[in-house]
Assembly symmetry: C2
């Protein structure tokens, strides 16, 4: 620990608040990773039942510490109390979902092919299970100080898998991070687990995170943040003597396609729904609707007018940090200077520091396709409406989009034919397709995918939200002809954890 | 196509044989990838049933063309007819396994979370399935001209997933590659599929493969070969504007641990079994037993003596290519010059070109740990016996091994305690653990893992053999609140393909 000043900053005032907080050094990172590697040997061998109880203990401890955690998170993020309160509920719900997931056990992918001694050549006895990959580095995100941070989805899924976790706490909410870490550490102790199962690395700058990803004991990385940040960590991970996977969720503009019949029939409601989704949380969501596509005409004009009024009337909101606010303001300014892009409306000017004003831009498809910067995310409540000549041009815009977390179709019955044409294009470019909703709001459940092709993420094969996220931190091992006494429980004949398994090609419920 | 001379080479004579073969250019690669991308739109939307029939049609066509294919493969590889005959059976069996896998359908990972409109906030209807990633580049391996080549495991799993395949045929067996490609193309036509579903790229050198991996339409890469080759392709894939996953199976020395009781009780049988596994196919297997660990003493001396006799009496075998033979001869020579490493025995000198002579070396654990080059694979029938002072030293050697495809335990009842100590070390370092067998011989089944931590592969999260290999070429997509008429069949209420699914957290058989 060094003595460098490191305190909470209230983004509403840009003033430091609360006590001076300890700062880790790169040397601390090595010690923490070494403890995680030691703990791995014990922790990965715990039963799913024991890890489930541990996850539930973390959730209970977070609820016990709720008042202090929420107070710190509100102060450090500038987010309203109701939002932070909901986010804590989401965080504990997520921990409990992963507890249920490992108790169900299908995530361990157990398969048994029993010996066929009479076959020529004989088939050996083969048994597969998926085991924890090793200590995982998790990078907290600034925009979800609870649900994508110290005890967030990556931490929950890695702990569920049997991986110790080292969190690189986001410097934007250091006190929240410490309080949440203390809750997890209390659960570690109460569960009788080695203390290396969890650690928080805290302090400003990028060196700590780089040291963590470089550490030879770290086996995988979960990250939610900017494209530059995710790519930098991927590069470090790829250049290690032993490269490791990086699951970085980076940037997405989340196209919303207003199909003709829907736009004609309910353009006003769509405009209102869009504005509400755009300005929610100062637009600081990975799934913020940043791109609207529609066919040019009176219906789109009406939509734009209505949405413009909505934006113009929307109050400013405090953004998460001065850095994020500056980047947003610069991004909006840069966009307003692009030739052929019009500023349709801007939100109200607010009082206080770091006030994000919503911004709505419009352009046409030709300009959009000619100017690659218009596909870049402006993190905050900024969106671009692209007017297309016809449905064919809308399709060709979609075909040239980068990978996205989500795509949204606004459709009425008469749009189904066009939607059927769009679906194959969207499927190959995004992780989640919604109809008649808005992409903000990500359910934490079994069927959720919060992921998508590059550059939405560095690894479109997985999700960072929902129980399928545990796949990130498991890898398969096959046991051939092991004596029964040496077989791991998951692949043993007695199947004590009641795991559903694939036995000789047949699915056998647990 | 260029007119450059490109013909089969018989490794027994180093002479060219058969007709001059056409050579692709880097420009052809682009055209082929474009056709694959077009075919992807149609092929990925086919039913599992239709793809299963297509895979079976490929298998049937390979059987119909068996005589010509096997003749070419024997000539080009120098491998005996019985081996090539068995390999064709393995190849067709593999295609049929993937047909069964997609008909079973659990690989599509379907999950349904039904809407909960009464919940606060309401839960939307969420449905997840895994879809094909896109056109896949497959690199044929020299050492399995059929089972890991044009119609090999990567091709079968990618086609099963719904991905078109472009194979970069291995220049060591160009005529075999063409014949197998013709069989696949006949099956493509007979199945009424677009011809871009499959293509072979053929010719000498590394430029064709580099162009293929660089092509923006290629979405993933399967490779079996050298560490240098796999790492080079990974680098190219990682530096693309849109990086893609590379599944490279590279190098492994496959440790075999002779535990004390087993070594005492049946040292002679172990020596004979070991020699048979080592010299099989001139040792040209990824799972060749290249490292033997045992505790120093009379039992190990007896094992070494017996294995030495076996090696000294083993006839030479023709290696696959002059390049592989040269690399093997140099590798053996370099190893014999390492201080503290003794040549225990070498196989018989053979007649003809490219004759690989088995080689058995011995050293002690201290030397092994001090000399990193001793962990490198010498591709061919070369192995190193490492004498350890005691079981603790054996454990510490294992702890310092790189990632491996396999590890083998030779154990008797009295070794079970020690084996239980070894298992956690082996699990974290390899993809398959065998007891009382030999690692050569890889069953193609549901529970097989042919993979392992780096540098055994570039991606230890998957396998290249067995039905779980299909995971490589699928990625998840979530559908939120789609009208029933727009839902893909796999996630529809009616479940026409009878896929087992996870519905509201419960596993529902198909």
């Amino acid at each position: 620990m060094s003595a460098q000043a490191f305190r909470s900053i209230d983004p509403r005032t840009n003033r430091a608040a609360g006590p001076e907080l300890a700062v880790h050094t790169a040397a601390d990172v090595g010690a923490v990773a070494a403890r995680a590697a030691l703990a791995f040997e014990v922790y990965r061998a715990t039963t799913p039942e024991r890890r489930a109880r541990f996850l539930e203990a973390i959730a209970a401890q977070l609820e016990a510490d709720r008042a202090a955690i929420e107070e710190a998170a509100c102060l450090e993020s500038g987010l309203p109390a109701a939002r932070i309160n909901g986010e804590l509920g989401r965080t504990t719900g997520q921990l409990r979902l992963f507890a249920r997931t490992i108790l169900r056990g299908d995530c361990f992918g157990v398969r048994l092919d029993r010996a066929l001694p009479e076959r020529v050549p004989p088939r050996p006895d083969l048994r597969l299970r998926r085991i924890a990959v090793g200590p995982v580095a998790v990078f907290g995100a600034s925009n979800f100080p609870l649900a994508f941070s110290v005890a967030g989805g990556d931490t929950a899924s890695a702990l569920a898998a049997g991986c110790p976790v080292v969190v690189r706490g986001h410097p934007a909410h250091p006190r929240t991070s410490l309080l949440v870490a203390a809750a997890i550490e209390a659960a570690v102790r109460a569960s009788g687990l080695p203390d290396g199962v969890f650690a928080l690395i805290s302090g400003p700058g990028t060196a700590l995170g780089q040291a963590l990803v470089s550490d030879p004991r770290i086996a995988a990385v979960g990250f939610t943040g900017s494209r530059a940040g995710g790519l930098a960590l991927s590069r470090i991970a790829g250049e290690r003597p032993v490269p490791i996977p990086v699951y970085a969720e980076m940037s997405s503009i989340n196209p919303v396609i207003l199909c003709p019949a829907a736009l004609s029939a309910r353009g006003e409601a769509l405009a209102d729904g869009f504005v509400a989704s755009l300005v929610l949380g100062a637009g600081q969501f990975c799934t913020n609707p940043g791109l609207i596509l529609a066919v040019r005409g009176p219906a789109l004009e009406a939509f734009l007018a209505r949405a413009g009024y909505g934006i113009a009337a929307s109050p400013s909101s405090t953004m998460l940090t001065a850095g994020i606010h500056d980047a947003y303001a610069k991004g909006v300014e840069a966009r307003s200077l692009v030739e052929g892009v019009q500023l349709v409306a801007a939100g109200l000017v607010g009082e206080g520091e770091n006030q994000g004003r919503a911004a709505l831009f419009a352009t046409d498809a030709e300009r959009f396709l000619a100017e690659p910067s218009l596909q870049e995310e402006v993190f905050g409540a900024s969106a671009l409406v692209v007017a297309c000549a016809d449905e064919a041009e809308m399709l060709s815009v979609l075909e040239r989009l980068e990978g996205q977390l989500t795509a949204t179709l606004q459709i009425d019955a008469d749009d189904h034919g066009f939607a059927a044409q769009l679906l194959p294009v969207l499927e190959t470019r995004c992780g989640r397709i919604l109809c008649n909703g808005w992409p903000t709001g990500v359910e934490v459940s079994d069927a959720m995918v919060h992921g998508g092709p590059f550059p939405a993420t560095t690894d479109g094969r997985t999700t960072s939200v929902g129980s399928a996220a545990i796949d990130r931190f498991l890898r398969p091992v096959c046991y051939q002809n092991l004596p029964a006494s040496l077989l791991p429980a998951e692949v043993s004949d007695s199947n004590p954890y009641r795991i559903p398994r694939l036995v000789d090609g047949e699915i056998v419920p647990g």
